[in-house]
Amino acid sequence: MKDAFGAPQSLLVLGGSSDIGRAVARWLVARRTRRVHLAGRASDRLREAAAELTGLGAEVTVVPFDAARPETHEEALGKVFAEGDVDCVLMAFGVLGDQERDEADPAAASRVAQVNFTGAVSAGLVCGNALRAQGHGSLVVLSSVAGERARRSNFIYGSSKAGLDAFAQGLGDALHGYGVHVMVVRPGFVRTRMTAGMKEAPLATTAEAVAEAVVAGLRRRSETVWVPGALRLVMSGMRHLPRPLFRRIPL
């Protein structure tokens, strides 16, 4: 169960090897979380993440999960919920793609959408329904500022996050009143493995800062969390910028 401060005792991370997923899990294990399910494709990084959390005192299980194969989600995730309550689900999987290359290779581009959006739709529904049945729980969805308004430089990724973001908001409304709290997290540029070597955007942040914001959002039962918080204002300005102007912003 979650305690009065929203700290969960059991956690399911979809995208268990992601830097942000690991950072959030570390923060939560330092509080009340004792049972962690790390879901992802088998890899050294996933095993490493499991070992790290075990070392911090958590009881960790690794769950095979492939975001790109929605037809497997019900079974793979259903097993986790059958084992016991999950107080918090963190959807942290996602791919960035390579905008330039993907524009030339539509099939590769659609893979970004498949993982970030289509995969999240099925995994989000499976988890949302399970949380609804247990009458409590949080579903934390890692969206991105990129989804707030698609930019020329990464609109493939951005549009997939926009879809995810809209889906998560709708899911939150659908589950409102059923004890399930859906929280959309919109980080800006996060320095992680995924963004290594890229040119940093202003207000760049870290996986640790995202984790801290997630923990605070769980405590406040927030519906939307921006990381850093200043992005809420910045993006509200961006959203209303006329397109001819927006187009010229070198981001």
């Binding site: 169960m1 009065a4 401060f5 700290a7 247990q134 409590h136 059923y178 004890g179 405590r219």
Partner: protein
Amino acid sequence: MPVRSLAGWGRTAPTTARVLRPRTREEAVRALAQAGPRGAVARGLGRAYGDAAQNAGGAVLDMTGLDRIRSIDAQRGLVVCDAGVSLHRLMHVLLPLGWFVPVTPGTRFVTVGGAVGADIHGKNHHVSGAFTRHVESMELLLPDGGVRTVSPGDALFEATAGGMGLTGVVLGATLRLLPVETTRMRVDTERAANLDDLMARLAATDHRYRYSVAWIDLLARGAALGRSVITRGDHARLSDLRPKDRRDPLAFRTPSLPAAPRGIPGGLLRPSTVGVFNELWFRRAPRERRGELQSIPAFFHPLDGLPEWNRIYGRPGFVQYQFVVGPERADVLRAIVRRISERKYPAFLAVLKRFGPGGSGWLSFPREGWTLALDIPAGLPGLDRFLDALDETVADAGGRVYLAKDSRLRPELLGAMYPRLADFRRLRSEVDPDGVLVSDLARRLDL
């Protein structure tokens, strides 16, 4: 079936459940049988601060429909009533007959079933013990659907006293009452300048009073650390009343203001606003006043006059922290008061009292010593770690926190605080092998 969102009085961790409202014992038996795979727990008036009376995804039996007072023995002072009868109702019915409930907490809006489940205490604990000491017997609906009458000394009785509703659903109880001549209280009020002064006064003279409690200003620091207002008293005798009140000495009225509005934002209670309130409260109290006559609501239940007062904490809600440490651990109490005051959390007037010897309930909270209770807004940063650290100190000192108020204890500490936890778990696995009775509290603390 429709589900409802339920939270405790602190409004911190709401979950949803199907709410069933049995009106008779037969309906209660049926409701429990229909609990479903996620089990059921009984709920009264929802005054437990944390998650004791909620059951995510399962069933919650709203017991307030079982509200019959079955019989009153006005000669011997015994009442037999359903579990859903509130102390408020009992007072209205019993006071005109010259009887008072044996133990009342700071609110009248608790049911008899809830009073048993939490083994509640009042300002008279040092004299009268906790609630279940005054229960002659109770009827318990067991997880297998059977109904048993249990009495003090039975394992099932002792596990149920303070057992947070996890050993059976209390259907009704027989209570021993306290005779009173009037519905007024004779109250002595005095101020204590600081914590040492307070503890010395309580230790020296508490035994002279049936009821005793102190309100501490936890925002006071330095030499004023622990400054407080002590109010103590007993039921007024007929001869204490003014002649015009003697005509109707057992009149009982419970005035109430309109409820606090919904939608109050969090963060209203800051150190500044609470500080001003605490200052006024302290100044308002007389330095010393003897024999003041007060009504029962004014003396016991000042907050009941403001319905839904828990809303003033806004959406984030609040936590109440109550612990007890032995009489020889005054040092721990002092250290904790200092830590809270140094931390400058906006803690509303906190309550300090001395408990008498503990009862026999396995998970019953009160034990002899000092107990402190305080409310803190749940949204404050760092509060989780701060209270975790207090838990460690309390557990190290052989003390414990109160489960009816808990919403955040680290489960690992529970065994140290409640030495009979293992017995409790064993009995539960015997009477409820399928886990029919379960609550969010039970899941969170692995009871």
